[in-house]
Symmetry: C2
Subunit: 384 residues, 2 copies
């Protein structure tokens, strides 16, 4: 028997109930049945974003939602600020340039978060920006950006705050309306613990005021078309994925959103302590900037991270992701978003310990278990 396990920042493990909900017999997307499904979804989905606005459901990956936000919100030649501390921040900049926008980048080194004073300084130098694009949880580095503070700062200006919360929604608190966020993006294969395929876009009233004056440079992703057809989809929607989404929202409601976020925080904390106990160095130094989606850690001296990951996969069917860019072979990224629970974590660390023994790494067997059990056995406290 070969069981598959995933400790990845998306796609994530998908609960069987959701997989089977997606295998529902096909129903027509303009039928009464579909309308009922959409009404249920449209009632629950905005609650996840903590918004009173409608949330549109795109049939695409998260990258499609990033493109959609940019293509709908700005005219060519307009200036935007990209707040970047990793791979997906860079992607925001790439897409913005492709759509003819002038891009001001506020960078922060990988593993850190962009400080609000640098954002304020850039805004002082470029008061003509029309939007700020920022990634909430950077899965490439495991660091979160403080989108609340950024929202606070820009909410009294006419600058739109566009947040890639693709991996940050659900796994972290996010209050779209209260925090003054204008466009919030998410995707199905992260905190929703679904297969990939759906992306979500919530749009504030302030954003709509700007969007009204824009000719979107996309037809497929046009938010105006989405609004026109709401609550249905403008083109053939991903029916099977919508059935899975309905089940996902039921499960999230059952667990409770705050409880679900707390689970993510606790598991992230346990993962951090487990890896430290094994001699790894956490990549994100500041505890309160560490993502609940993925824990990034540099391997101990003498340990080849790529070899570890390959063995985990080949011997135990466990997928853990590695570092990107210059961190390839030096970093592991342990994902713990979506359908991962506390007990799964013991299995993940069991496999890691066994491979570490095999590679000759020196440590006391069971040390990571002790760390896990200490964290998981009590309330949610974040350790340094």
């Amino acid at each position: 028997m070969k069981k598959l396990r995933m400790a990845t920042p998306g796609p994530t493990q998908v609960p069987q109930d959701i997989l089977l909900a997606g295998a529902h017999e096909m129903i027509h997307h303009r039928s009464h049945l579909m309308t009922e499904v959409m009404e249920e979804i449209n009632c629950q989905l905005p609650k996840i974003f903590r918004t009173s606005k409608d949330v549109y459901i795109l049939l695409s990956s998260g990258t499609g939602a990033m493109e959609a936000a940019i293509a709908n919100s700005f005219n060519r030649g307009e200036k935007v600020m990209v707040v970047s501390n990793g791979y997906f921040g860079e992607r925001f900049a790439d897409i913005s340039k492709l759509f003819g926008l002038e891009v001001i980048t506020v960078n922060s080194p990988w593993g850190t978060s962009v400080r609000i004073d640098k954002v304020k300084e850039a805004y002082a130098n470029h008061p003509d920006i029309k939007g700020v694009l920022v990634v909430y949880s950077e899965t490439s580095t495991g660091a979160v950006n403080d989108v609340k503070v950024i929202g606070d700062f820009f909410c009294k200006t006419d600058v739109l705050v566009i947040v890639d919360a693709i991996s940050g929604l659900i796994s972290h608190e996010l209050f779209m309306d209260d925090w003054g966020l204008d466009i919030v993006l998410a995707a199905s294969h992260k905190g929703f613990m679904m297969p990939p395929g759906l992306a979500f876009v919530a749009i504030s009233t302030k954003a709509w005021e700007k969007l009204e004056g824009i000719h979107p440079s996309t037809y497929y992703f046009s938010f105006k078309r989405y609004r026109k057809f709401y609550p249905m989809a403008p083109s053939s929607p991903g029916v099977s994925l919508l059935m899975a989404l309905k089940k996902s929202l039921e499960l999230l409601k059952e667990e409770g959103l705050p409880e679900c976020t707390a689970r993510h925080a606790k598991i992230a904390d346990a993962t951090q302590q487990g890896l430290k106990a094994l001699g790894f160095t956490l990549f994100v130094k500041e505890p309160n900037l560490r993502s609940n989606t993925v824990t990034t850690a540099l391997s101990p001296p003498g340990l080849n991270a790529s070899e570890l990951l390959t063995k985990l996969n080949q011997q135990y069917g466990l997928t853990v992701t590695g570092g990107q860019g210059e961190y390839k072979g030096k970093m592991i990224r342990v994902g713990h978003i979506g359908g991962v629970d506390e007990i799964d974590l013991f299995g993940i660390f069991g496999a890691i310990e066994m491979v570490l023994v095999e590679t000759g790494h020196h440590f006391e067997r069971g040390v990571s278990f002790r760390a896990l059990s200490e964290v998981l056995g009590k309330g949610v406290v974040r350790h340094a």
Copy 2:
């Protein structure tokens, strides 16, 4: 018990084997397992297009593929010819205009097909066009365009022939390479008898030569990114849909592509005869222009098509689509693509006959069955 049945031109009925294949436990999109799945898919998929070229798999509806083809193939200001005889031809024109192209439209009334001499004439007047956009099977009208003749005519020019074969692939013959077609688009929820969510794009060598010189006006749909990451996807792919696609390709291989197309032709023929027997008037006059995807028919005098469709749905759980635009209430569109077989057709007509009796329509009970059984009981012959 309430069973659901669909006689729609997409989404179509999905065989249970495909639904369950899509419920496969999640696997990571950059894993060895996924590579194996993609290799199997990439080996089989081009055979469906009758091409030696790679076929890219987009995570989108068919409309996304239409946008992708346009955004990748042309620069703003370039001129294209749209060959249009229905709703989806109009969509090609709309998207082209949105991307800043100059559009020459060669129209033909709904229910007919565009004649090649009109295409030639338009080309003589506009020899500077860079592409011809044409829908193979127009699901809005039930008419097919002769894309073979159009491919033949333009293959010696530098004009790209872009074919929306979204509902036309599999249900009709299509030989991409032999017919000189440059970009062929398809989607999962049609002949592939899958849930909606994947779109397919095959690109000729001639098309790639033009595409090399274009900066695609999309990031998400960039064919250059697709080529770079091939055989894997550039962004998170629709893993569950890819598992379903693998099964769909297995089923298609088992049935045989010519046999599958012949099944569609036979069922289309039977549907036409069944509707005629009940007093409907086929909307597409020329038999050889009728689509194997969907049969369009005007209801007999005194019969309200919308009422018929509503009753079919409410009383028998059967979804049949109605006419679009000016044909709303006057036309029915019976879809018979994908997972519909001969025996399903008897159930569809059984429901139609029962509702017709109820509405007071005069006809001999069983007359449509006789017509079906005559067609289905013999080889594939197309009746006028």
